[in-house]
Amino acid sequence: MRVVVAEDSVLLREGVARLLQEAGHEVVGQAGDADDLMRKVRAHKPDLAVVDVRMPPTQTDEGLRAAKEIRAELPGVGVLVLSGYVEPAYAQELLAENAAGLGYLLKDRVSDVGAFADAVDRVGAGGSALDPEVVSVLMGRARENDPLDELTPREREVLGLMAEGRTNAAIAEHLVVSERAVEKHVTAIFSKLGLAASNEDHRRVLAVLRFLDS
């Protein structure tokens, strides 16, 4: 997979690049700010851009805006946004219409090499990746007459993994159960929560996300 990395801290940028190379990817460009990122993405048309949220000049949310720009201009390029902190609001904003080829992860996740490589593969292949912390904030939100109370503990676990953007196969592997068993759980969850079932994982993420933050 061909990847562009945008991150203003050289140390972290080199680290991420090395990690990606070790996972067998080709880092075709490195950028230190949003303009640089856009130039390199346009020039290289990579499979994936790994983008830091805070970059010069304003150090606020350049990365987020660049991510949206890339998605609008070059739909074939997956964007994995990394952030020093995660906010469900940003996830909603980023994944608002279409979660395909989009990811939003806490920067710390890069140290969990396996999970990070997994998210890179998923987003690069047109899937989604949502940080477990975003999911846990959303699922842990206090509600009156919480519909999540209807779910069994196992179903809650499956719901969380779905929200992270994982495929049924990945969920089955993670929970060490058969894919068939996961499918049954997913059907039960959708029916209990009154959601329309969807086979495409990135649509599924969106449905779950909207449900959780409604």
């Binding site: 020093g84 902190y85 469900p88 609001a89 940003y90 842990g140 939100r141 206090a142």
Partner: protein, 500 residues
Amino acid sequence: MTLGARTPLRRALGGLALAGVLLGVATFVMVASSKVPTAPLLEAILTLLIGWSFIGTGLFAWDRRPSNLVGPLMVAVGFAWMLGEFKSSDIPMAAAIGFATGSLSVSFLIHLLLVFPSGRARGRLDRFYIAYAYVAGGLVAGLPIVFYNPATDPDCTNCVTSNPLLIHANLDLVHGIYTTLSAVSIPVLATLIVHLVRRTRAADAEERRSQEPVWWAGGATILLFTASLLTNLGPEEGTYDDVVWYVANFVIATVPFAFLFGLLRTRLSEADLVAEENVRLDAELQARLDELRDSRARIVEAGYVARRKLERDLHDGAQQRLVALALDLRLVREKLDDSPKEAGQMLDEASAELAQATEELRELARGIHPAILSDRGLEAAVESLARRAPLPVEIDTSLDGRLPEPVEAAAYFVVSEALTNVGRHAGADRAEIGIRRDNGRLVVEVRDDGSGGADPAGSGLRGLADRIAALDGRLRIDDPAGGGTIIRADIPLGSGNGLR
């Protein structure tokens, strides 16, 4: 309750009230337990009645009409009265003080009668009477104590046996001074009564209305005092003296109420109103300045406290973990060749430790200033708080666009602190947050359905109140009748809060 300062005037009046209560109790105990008066308990009760009614009504009048001398004079009469009653004590020093100050209350009373209800003397004649009252009642009547030796006084059958203020014993001189004083004062007081009656006659209906309640009481008092002064000229110590004395006491006790009634009936003149208003504004301004100074000091202090806490958190948290990690990595380096399996396990532990450290740093940064607030504004930041709140939160916001940064930050911390409190103490099932603009102000309201009882003096809320006061806003905490707590901040969005 509003988190604001009491005015300095109120504080001072509170202090005077306390002093009055203490002096009253002391006088009562002293007189009631004394062997000097023929009816100690009756005299003690009368003293307390008169002293406290003057002080109480005087303080009330003082509070209502802070620029009018009537209130302070009434308070002075009350204090002087109780002090004068010390003369009935059988403790020599107290009795001496009582003898020296015994007539001072009448001086104040005469001053009061003359300047009522405006608080100002009208003309030279008034000023003459006032001066006479203080010279005669304070100085001439008090002076003889230094010549008086009770042991040599044949009239003094069961009084104290010594006088600590005695300089030179001369009983004849004492009697001489008192006789002269009475002889001069009786005609002066008589002309004073005539003067006052004339003035009342000349007054217009409005003035008379406010003075009516005073004259019968005040006039009667002077009359009775004149009568009691006559006893100094007449035969020594008889039932006549006692009867006059007690009747005078009862009448005097009603005087302060008459004064208060009259004063409150007085319609204030234009000039008085302005003066009243000025005094009130001065007091308010002073209170605000005091409050501002206190709050500024607390904000500075809170800044230090926050920095110390930050330093501690960094030092005890992330820094310790990183130091431990550095050590672990050294150990791993040594284990690497001999027992690679153990080394691998240690590296896993180190990674977990590192993840913990980053997590702590992230939370710390979030507490200092949430990035979403500067990135996306107040509404998004409050929604983020609500998502993480330990109870269901309903949000009703109607802001469009961003607000000045300091206002956003203050409002954010109000919601944050309120939700923390709700989660911690209130035992609530749900909370509601309302944020809106109202007439150039931002109004932030957090209400819950818990048991109430938020402590406005708690450091969290106190700090918030200071923060909001610094923006010229107000923080209120209410426990409404239906239960729960409402924390409400309103902050002006004026130009002063925009540019920083």
